[in-house]
Subunit: 291 residues, 4 copies
Amino acid sequence: MKTGFIGLGNLGIVIAENLLAAQQPLYVYNRTAAKAQGLIAQGAIVCTSVQELAAQCDVVFSIVSDDAALNHITQGPDGIAAHLKPGGIHIAMSTILPDTAIALEALHRQHGSIYLAAPLMARPEAARARKINFLVSGNQEAIQQVRPLLEQAGAAGIWEFGDTAGAANVAKLSSNYLILTAMEALAEGINLARRSGIDADLWMKMLTSTIFNAPVYASYSQLILKEAFQPAGFSLKLGLKDMNLVLQQAANVQAVMPVGTQVQQLLQESVAGGLGDHDVTAVARTIGALS
Amino acid sequence: MKTGFIGLGNLGIVIAENLLAAQQPLYVYNRTAAKAQGLIAQGAIVCTSVQELAAQCDVVFSIVSDDAALNHITQGPDGIAAHLKPGGIHIAMSTILPDTAIALEALHRQHGSIYLAAPLMARPEAARARKINFLVSGNQEAIQQVRPLLEQAGAAGIWEFGDTAGAANVAKLSSNYLILTAMEALAEGINLARRSGIDADLWMKMLTSTIFNAPVYASYSQLILKEAFQPAGFSLKLGLKDMNLVLQQAANVQAVMPVGTQVQQLLQESVAGGLGDHDVTAVARTIGALS
Amino acid sequence: MKTGFIGLGNLGIVIAENLLAAQQPLYVYNRTAAKAQGLIAQGAIVCTSVQELAAQCDVVFSIVSDDAALNHITQGPDGIAAHLKPGGIHIAMSTILPDTAIALEALHRQHGSIYLAAPLMARPEAARARKINFLVSGNQEAIQQVRPLLEQAGAAGIWEFGDTAGAANVAKLSSNYLILTAMEALAEGINLARRSGIDADLWMKMLTSTIFNAPVYASYSQLILKEAFQPAGFSLKLGLKDMNLVLQQAANVQAVMPVGTQVQQLLQESVAGGLGDHDVTAVARTIGALS
Amino acid sequence: MKTGFIGLGNLGIVIAENLLAAQQPLYVYNRTAAKAQGLIAQGAIVCTSVQELAAQCDVVFSIVSDDAALNHITQGPDGIAAHLKPGGIHIAMSTILPDTAIALEALHRQHGSIYLAAPLMARPEAARARKINFLVSGNQEAIQQVRPLLEQAGAAGIWEFGDTAGAANVAKLSSNYLILTAMEALAEGINLARRSGIDADLWMKMLTSTIFNAPVYASYSQLILKEAFQPAGFSLKLGLKDMNLVLQQAANVQAVMPVGTQVQQLLQESVAGGLGDHDVTAVARTIGALS
């Protein structure tokens, strides 16, 4: 199977390198061409347009910044859907609205190709360590077909959410919701602890070695305690983008999310305050967490 | 050292039994006498008043429902402080305001005895399995003196937060804050997932076996998914009481807690709606989480 | 000037009748034809399509339910923009996003016609009493040209917000934001007063005859106190739609609106709870206001 | 009737002067004696203690900063209750918790005197113009007896809330709740309008001359638009104090107040940010309202 890869951002480039390491011939395209050039030495074949890439591949991975960017590379006369061969598979890894996935799945179907939703859970360093959890949904046969590819891409886990493209996107948004609220709760808790004069590091050590011994709490608490807001592992503006998607989905299905709206407001206040490029944990600064 | 124990609620009785198992002579008192009677067979000596118990013990454990109850058994002519012998130690395990602890520490000091704050983390079943984490603070010498007793009481961990009685209470309140917000975030996330039509059980399985693999998330998600709101492990009205203490402490130290206030409102709405005796996870019902 | 009118909902029909009373020949169109028929006796000429109406008018008023409906009647080969004569004026009275107005203004300009934003403040009974406040923005010359028409439509006040179409829409959304928050604040205040056992009617009488002697407070407090939630003067689902527009605009310009998000959640919870067709004041029921 | 007056803060001094203008002999006491001295020229008789004042008066007005201060001057061997003659009346004008009023009413009853709750609505300049609205509750006969005095004190309106002392305090807290939420809503609305690029002054002029033509909206909108945050008419820290009382009362009666909690958080964030002595409208700065 000829495989293509579109989108060489922080995470995309790591996944592309994982694929290349598995001896794949890999066709790559990136809006900013320079990033693609860097992969030639590892065996990548650089394409100069989405169209050129899609036309010669059986499977196309994509990981771009948001719904608009994914629509841009998929729709229209120059898009993936118009050029992917019949039976070809588009594995879309971006964090987007379920409705966007549903619309793109229908578009691919019209063109005789297949759209799979495959958003993923992993920071770049975890992706490099091949510890990616893929959340997938869509055409069941196609999913079985691409599992080996996902493993080559760095999968530690592949979680199947059924035959509707949007399902995996729901799972991904709901997960990011939990991550962002845990992060904000940590910021508030650490703020309370510090202002009340106790050793917040010891307090967090206690919790993260007992009932909160999960990676999310361990990593975010350290970022907040050390005020390691730059460089951003997960930037505040991306966190805000994700939380806005969460609330848009919540509005669509009439789910009240009182804590979610609160966190969205704090992220928005932080971005308005100039912290957009800091790590998402910099909301601690917005709420006045002392150090 | 003669040891006393006041407060035989759900958790208190388990800790008292742990102590009795260690061959301690144990003097016990409970407002409702019947519960104390049940411990006679295990070697308890039942006292008919706080005063009687305090007068003959070197160390007194207490675990009562709230600040008012602790003040009631500690202050006044019939209280622990007035009757505990010089050098005696009061180990107060209740979840209370730091300011209450500070005031009671001062009161004991006036009487020549010692007050230690020792709130704990453990549901009854964990306490029975001797997996209690004690958060302690106060007189350093006294803490070293009572460590063996805490181990007999079921300590898996003893975390020392310094020489101010209130410090351990801050750590405890901050911990309960994190627990309650994690719980509400789970309820909102599960609601979003379900209303969006995905398999919420699978989604939670994915998260609790990866980045959220912590006991808090594992246990609360199961309670919400199964709607196992009765009998209550941690009742909604107690959750509300704790969150009110958190926000009172936050107001004292001018810590903003936007998510905390949101969770407090939901707990209050739930109690007003008649769910006070249900498990705290029943807030899921208040926000309309479908099943 | 030949004048057209599209959209005969609760408010539209009153404004159309105001115009007819001023001896205008008035071309009318409504998706549901029956409502238009009822105006024939008053001198209306019924058109069978938007295209037919637009083609023969110099000025077209429109008042439809939302952004999508306004886009639908304005864009495309059958829309107002394609058929209104050069120099013709489209007076759009719907409550919509500023960005929608800006896009439609540009579309009209391409076709040589003019788009004016003219959202309005008035419940149907006030419109009938000719007490409408129009908020207008767009082409300055056109605004002066249509002022007499707005007066015939029932204007008590015409407020000009400048030459950008979106400006009047911002003013309208910001106004609805204030109305909806005042309403929710009243519900919470009345709830507090009642649960605390005082005479809430007297309390409101005191306030609305002193520092809160404004129509918004007078009318909404009565609706809440009397639980007059049906029929709806301003339905909960429309209130939710408006608040969602407010927050979408707030996100666009990075304005934090903590109270706004709170009210949006309560409206959403109320709609999810089946109160969508009740008056917006029925949020009082959602928060448990006793009577 | 010999009349006393305790508490010569910004508002107290104006009311005392109103009383003095009515030819009353007026016994005055203030913790900081200098303020009392200033009234001698107008006919005041300065007392050096609460006890001294209470012992020689038939009626004592008090207006002190909070619940603790009112308890301090009323309770104990030196307090008003212990020294006011049988049948004497204590008119307590402070904004306090209903429960505090209920307790003090009982205390006075034990001593054979009468406690009336008489919180008031008026900024100092309005008090000087004799436009005070008194909210009163308690012993009905006593209320009728003191009405002439309240008029001399500057009453434009006297609103009777029944025979329980706490009732008037509920009405007062509920009123301040409405004021503070209206204020925050204005700040958010003005922020949205400005960031969206419209003329916020014109927008507010439109609203305050139509559906929001009430003093609260007129005055607060001007303070926010002009950023006239100093000197404070109603300081942020007092606003926070009042909102904390509101939420304490809400917790007591299980009233959910989602908007109230949000405003409380913003006030708290503002005080933590150093704005405690600014006008309460300075929350506009906290939410980033541009000018």
